[in-house]
């Protein structure tokens, strides 16, 4: 078997194992909280008998291990149970909101990733000169501001003052792509600014790291333009660290958007999670936790595999 295939299969297996471990943590974490779902539904004043009846009805009288596997089995088939607060099917509510979150994340990613890498290349090209300092300064400022503040500043400028985009990012299935893009423009802009600095600085550092190599000198002595030397000769050798940071930031775009969704009242996973945490709706919290964990592990798995594939020694063994 091709050695790369072996490595990739190993990584996939490890990813699955990690996901399994994460699911145990999520389940145990919610399990050790004081009180249980029956208590949450019936409230503090419920009688012992009522609680016992409720537990029997919901299957909560079973041992934790049994309940874990029931929950995991359901989750694997896309059944997360029903939300306690409103009795709706969780999978149903999530799928719509997950779609929205993914849409916002993708819009931000499509802008942020190429922009970050390009700015990184530019910073290397003009290293220690004003373009490098300007890029570093702006991206560092944007990452230093708390994202909710950044959100309100951008909202004030582009929505209140200029009136270009709506301040509330409401989207629904009936809108065209253009309308949707218009709606998510501001939150996507904030997210881009938040993730840009990290990716750009990693690109810069990773490329500078290989700029000392002898083959960079070879390329320069061929009379190539400086930007071509960086993009064609340095960049292909720094893919692995760049991809790792890019994937961490993509994961953040999906998992870490809670604050932004609340600021822009965007109907995504973050809003949904926050709503149900305040209502102590444990099944929803578990479902969200598991989905976030899968996204995180999945994207990091992609980063690992891309890193492996970017190594010519592994792709083309002797």
């Amino acid at each position: 078997m091709h050695p790369v295939l072996t490595l990739v299969i190993q990584r996939l297996a490890l990813g699955l194992l990690l996901l399994f471990a994460a699911s145990i943590l999520i389940f145990v974490g919610t399990e050790i909280l004081p009180g249980d779902v029956a208590q949450a539904v019936l409230g503090q004043t419920a009688t012992e008998q009522a609680l016992a009846n409720m537990r029997a009805q919901m299957g909560l009288d079973q041992p934790a291990v049994v309940r874990y596997f029931q929950w995991l089995g359901g989750a694997l088939q896309g059944d997360f149970g029903v939300a306690l607060s409103n009795g709706r099917d969780i999978a149903d509510s999530i799928s719509r909101r997950l779609g929205n979150t993914m849409f916002l994340a993708s819009v931000a990613a499509v802008v942020a990733v190429p922009l970050a890498i390009f700015l990184g290349l530019l910073a290397v090209r003009y290293r220690d000169r004003w373009p490098d300092r300007l890029i570093s300064g702006i991206t560092l400022t944007s990452i230093s501001l708390p994202e909710f503040l950044l959100g309100y500043i951008i909202m004030f400028v582009f929505s209140v003052q200029l009136g270009w985009f709506p301040s509330v990012s409401n989207i629904n299935a009936g809108m065209s792509l253009g309308q949707k893009l218009n709606a998510v423009a501001l939150p996507a802009m904030v997210l881009t600014l938040v993730v840009l600095a990290h990716m750009m600085r990693m690109t810069r550092a990773a490329i500078l790291n290989v700029m000392q190599s002898a083959y960079i000198e070879t390329a320069e002595l061929k009379g190539l333009r400086r930007f071509n030397v960086i993009a064609r000769h340095a960049m292909p050798n720094s893919i692995a660290p760049i991809v790792n940071v890019v994937m961490l930031n993509l994961a953040y775009l999906v998992v870490g958007v809670v604050v932004i969704e609340v600021v822009f009242v965007y109907p995504g996973m973050g809003q949904y999670l926050v709503d149900h945490v305040t209502k102590r709706d444990v099944p929803v919290v578990q479902a969200c936790g598991l989905i976030f964990a899968s996204v995180y592990i999945g994207l990091n798995l992609v980063a690992d595999i891309v890193s492996i594939l970017s190594n010519p020694r592994l792709r083309h063994p002797k």
Partner: protein, 547 residues
């Protein structure tokens, strides 16, 4: 520009650099001072000198390029009649990779690991829009053929890590010749190669130069090598020109003392000593491999070393000679075989050896700089084995350190220096003193002169011979360099692919009748004679045709 103009005309070149010495304010240093040279079209000039002579710096100046903080501060560099030292980056880009190209010492590092060889070989040609991609590829394949690369049609499809070091070096030559430049700078192109590979690459480079009619600056520290490929030679020292002349004049009638010293290097006379009764070290049937590797790195190696004598283990990279040192020192316990030291069996593993056994067996390494703690003074470095093995402290220890410093011909004041304040040769001397401090019966010397300039290496070899005569210490001398072996060995084991190919006294091993490998190895060592390369290659061709 007329045809009578030289291709490259360097006048009064001055090159400076900012030096950052540890603990000092950065200062300006003159790297090259007042060097002038003229190179006609189609001619090859050899630049020769020791490290720090400025030869690579001058080579790169022909591309108007300065490595790191190096600045071309004075003089004129005319290439094809145009001054290039003060040319703009844009003008330089048009000239580099088109009129003048560069072949680096380590092709393994100079090729981009992430891209196919063909893309890199034709890149300059395409970038300068000299011809179409198909034509460039066709030319590259022709060059691969001229340079005797295997399967020239498909060679370019491979990645750098998929071909050998010698092949990469030839591919780099193809890369330099592909855009049909007027001038190629060869910067030590064969130094990193084994001798048997070096001779092939050297032959290929010479053929390619002859067939393309390109002019070249050939930079090397090895006079015997440069004599094979050049028309004229310039000898450099400390950034200044020492002597310039035709190859014949330089090697047959050198005018300057320094040139004479470079030519007579490695002419140490050493009378071999005969084996005595009992060997000090006897290795029998050593077979060893690393970790879970499938193949043995050493198989059935048996050698003897007598007290106060030198056994040279000679071979190319990968022949297993350093592994043998690891087995003897106990770092790599063998899978089979025994080692007897001073009549007693030596435990195979380092941990099982007593302090006394450790004391009697010391080691000196190739890279003296990394074999010493940079934050310890010479006194601490040499004093440590005195404390560890003999429990010497205070004044007694210091007195012994001074004795050892005298023994290695370093005078007063060196005890309080740090390794960074020593030259390469001085560092290696301190390492020798540290080994001697343990008063060992055997010192393993692993390529101890390979990283040093020839004249400095000569000094180290003479010192080792003197110490041997005085202290009766035995050396196991690991090297790839036949000249070093001639200078120091009493007996020789030629290693090839983990086996002892040939073993005996120096006279036996270095004289015919030879086995095929030893013959190949010995005949590949460059000799300081005009036409040596052609003769050897022609003889080999005839022999292979005869078979």
């Amino acid at each position: 520009m007329s045809d009578s103009d030289p291709l490259l005309d360097i006048r009064n070149l001055r090159i400076e650099a900012t030096v950052y010495a540890p603990g000092e304010v950065p200062r300006n240093a003159v790297i090259v001072d007042d060097v002038s040279l003229r190179l006609e079209r189609g001619k090859v000039m050899g630049l020769i000198g020791e490290s720090g002579a400025g030869k690579s710096t001058i080579g790169l100046a022909a591309l108007a390029y300065g490595r790191g903080g190096i600045r071309l501060t004075g003089g004129d560099i005319y290439l094809n009649g145009r001054e290039i030292r003060t040319a703009s980056p844009r003008q330089l880009r048009r000239l580099r990779g088109r009129e003048v190209t560069y072949v680096a010492q380590s092709a393994a590092a100079a090729f981009n690991p992430a891209r196919r060889l063909m893309d890199q070989v034709i890149e300059a040609t395409l970038r300068h829009e000299l011809c179409s991609k198909a034509e460039a590829e066709k030319r590259a394949v022709e060059l691969f053929r001229t340079l005797s690369l295997p399967d020239p049609e498909n060679f370019g499809k491979r990645y750098p890590h998929q071909v050998s070091g010698g092949q990469l070096q030839r591919a780099m030559t193809a890369m330099a010749l592909c855009p049909r430049p007027d001038l190629v700078i060869f910067d030590e192109p064969t130094t990193a190669l084994d001798v048997t590979t070096q001779i092939d690459v050297l032959g290929a480079i010479k053929t390619a130069i002859r067939e393309t009619g390109v002019a070249a600056l050939y930079i090397t520290h090895d006079l015997a090598v440069v004599a094979q490929v050049s028309d004229e030679i310039m000898v450099l020292r400390h950034g200044k020109m020492v002597e310039h002349g035709t190859v014949q004049q330089i090697i047959e009638a050198p005018r300057e003392d320094y040139t004479r010293a470079l030519i007579s290097v490695r002419a140490i006379e050493h009378e071999e000593k005969k084996p005595t009764q009992e060997p000090l070290l006897r290795a029998e049937g050593i077979t060893a491999r690393y970790g879970a590797m499938a193949d043995d790195v050493l198989s059935n190696v048996s050698v003897d070393l007598y007290a106060g004598q030198t056994l040279a283990l000679v071979g190319e990279s990968g022949s297993g000679k350093s592994t043998m040192a690891r087995v003897i020192t106990g770092l790599l316990p063998p899978r089979a075989g025994t080692i007897t030291f001073d009549g007693k069996p030596l435990p195979p593993a380092l941990k099982a050896r007593s302090r006394e056994e450790l004391r009697q067996l010391q080691m000196i390494y190739q890279m003296a700089d990394v074999a010493m703690n940079p934050r310890q003074t010479v006194r601490t470095i040499i004093g440590r084995p005195l404390e560890f093995y003999f429990n010497l402290r205070g004044r007694k220890r210091d007195a012994r350190v001074q004795e050892l410093l005298d023994a290695i011909e370093l005078g007063e004041g060196f005890a309080d220096r740090y390794p960074a304040e020593l030259s390469g040769g001085q560092k290696q001397r301190v390492c020798i003193a540290r080994a001697l401090a343990a008063d060992p019966k055997l010192i393993i010397c692993d390529e101890v002169t390979s990283a040093l300039d020839p004249l400095v290496a000569d000094g180290i070899l003479k010192l080792l011979l003197n110490l041997q005569a005085r202290e009766q210490v035995a050396y196991l001398f690991i090297t790839h360099d036949i000249a070093t072996v001639r200078a120091i060995a009493d007996s020789i084991a030629v290693m090839y692919q983990g086996r002892v190919q040939r073993y005996g006294t120096k006279t036996e091993v270095l004289n015919p009748p030879f086995d095929d490998y030893t013959d190949l190895l010995l005949s590949s060592v460059p000799e300081m004679k005009l036409g040596w390369l052609e003769n050897v290659l022609a003889t080999r061709k005839m022999e292979s045709a005869g078979n």
